[in-house]
């Protein structure tokens, strides 16, 4: 059986350096009625983490179409979700604006999640 060496648990450090507690809106799987998407059921949760502007190198990990949108980086001990079978991407509220989670990487060494989120532009 393979053994995975776990590094230090940095979640306490992230908690100590957290820039705030943020509201995250999470939706379940999309429900279709007659082929049309219904308004998703959303729940709210609070996430503690560090939010800072995304570096140029990290921006390049996103599709080109997202690189001209404002992107923030969130580091948190709590997992933020991207789009998947379990639901639509999480929306994090930051400074009164909504940001949609685009990537969420689990760092086993350190026990935290590294996420990129793009500003939601409402028409």
């Amino acid at each position: 059986m393979a053994t995975e060496y776990e590094g230090d648990d940095l979640s306490d450090v992230i908690d100590a350096l957290a820039t705030g507690i943020y509201t995250v809106r999470r939706t379940g799987p999309t429900i279709y009625v007659d082929g049309r998407r219904q308004a998703p059921v959303t729940t709210s949760l609070s996430v503690r983490g560090v939010v800072y502007p995304t570096s140029g190198i990290d921006l390049q990990r996103l599709p080109e179409g997202l690189r001209t949108v404002e992107i923030i980086t969130i580091v948190s001990p709590q997992q933020l979700r991207t789009a998947g079978p379990e639901g639509e991407p999480d929306i994090i509220e930051y400074k009164g604006l909504d940001y949609q989670v685009q990537t969420s990487q689990r760092w086993t060494s350190g026990n935290f999640f590294f996420c990129l989120a793009s500003k939601v532009i409402t028409q």
Binding site: P29, T30, I31, Y32, D34, G35, R36, R37, P40, A83, G84, P85, E86, G87, E88
Partner: protein, 189 residues
């Protein structure tokens, strides 16, 4: 065409009837949200709308009491519809290509044609079923594409008020003479 909603519903009903897929597995494309549950699924996307010929603009009704006339703009349009099928099965009757082949075949059913016609859709051309399997993550996913051309007639009506009766007072003046009052009236024949 009665409405886009009716047209969409008729297209979807055709796919569901032809493939016997779950109701939740046949959805319209270009919507936000997650894909339907796992298993075979078909996504319907309405595409370009091309104008065929010149649109008409004709008077269709007159309401004498309300002093209005209804005009209708009527145009023939060609609408492209894409059916995109996805299936985890690579062989058998539930592969993406097999599902779309059923959609293609059953378009000749009278019940299907009638339902499409009732929604204002006339089938102009059945496209080819393109087999487009691809590797998703570490495994094959059966995918196929079918594009069809439909003819629809779109109409839009506008109501224009008209003047039935005009009354007015005129005055004719000439130097050295008294002014002459000239009342006038005009009525639509």
């Amino acid at each position: 065409m009665t409405s886009w909603v009716d047209a969409e519903d008729a297209l979807r009903a055709w796919v569901v009837a032809a493939t016997s897929l779950l109701d939740a597995s046949v959805v319209f494309g270009e919507q936000n949200g997650t894909r339907p549950p796992t298993g075979p699924q078909i996504i319907i996307t309405l595409g370009n709308v091309n104008s065929l010929g010149v649109d008409e603009y004709v008077q269709v009704e007159e309401d004498i009491g309300a002093h209005t006339v209804d005009f209708e703009a009527r145009g023939v349009r060609e609408v492209m519809v894409q059916f995109r099928a996805y299936s985890p099965d690579a062989t058998g009757d539930s592969t993406a290509r097999a599902l779309l082949s059923q959609v293609q075949l059953r378009s000749s059913f009278d019940s299907i044609r009638q339902a499409l016609n009732n929604a204002g859709l006339g089938l102009l051309e059945l496209g080819e079923v393109q087999n487009l399997p691809r590797v998703v993550n570490a495994g094959w996913e059966s995918q196929a594409n079918l594009e069809c051309r439909f003819c629809v007639v779109q109409t839009a009506t506008e109501t224009i008020p008209y003047i039935e009766l005009v009354n007015g007072d005129g005055k004719v003046s000439s130097p050295g003479s008294n002014d002459l009052d000239v009342p006038f009236s005009a009525e639509l024949a």
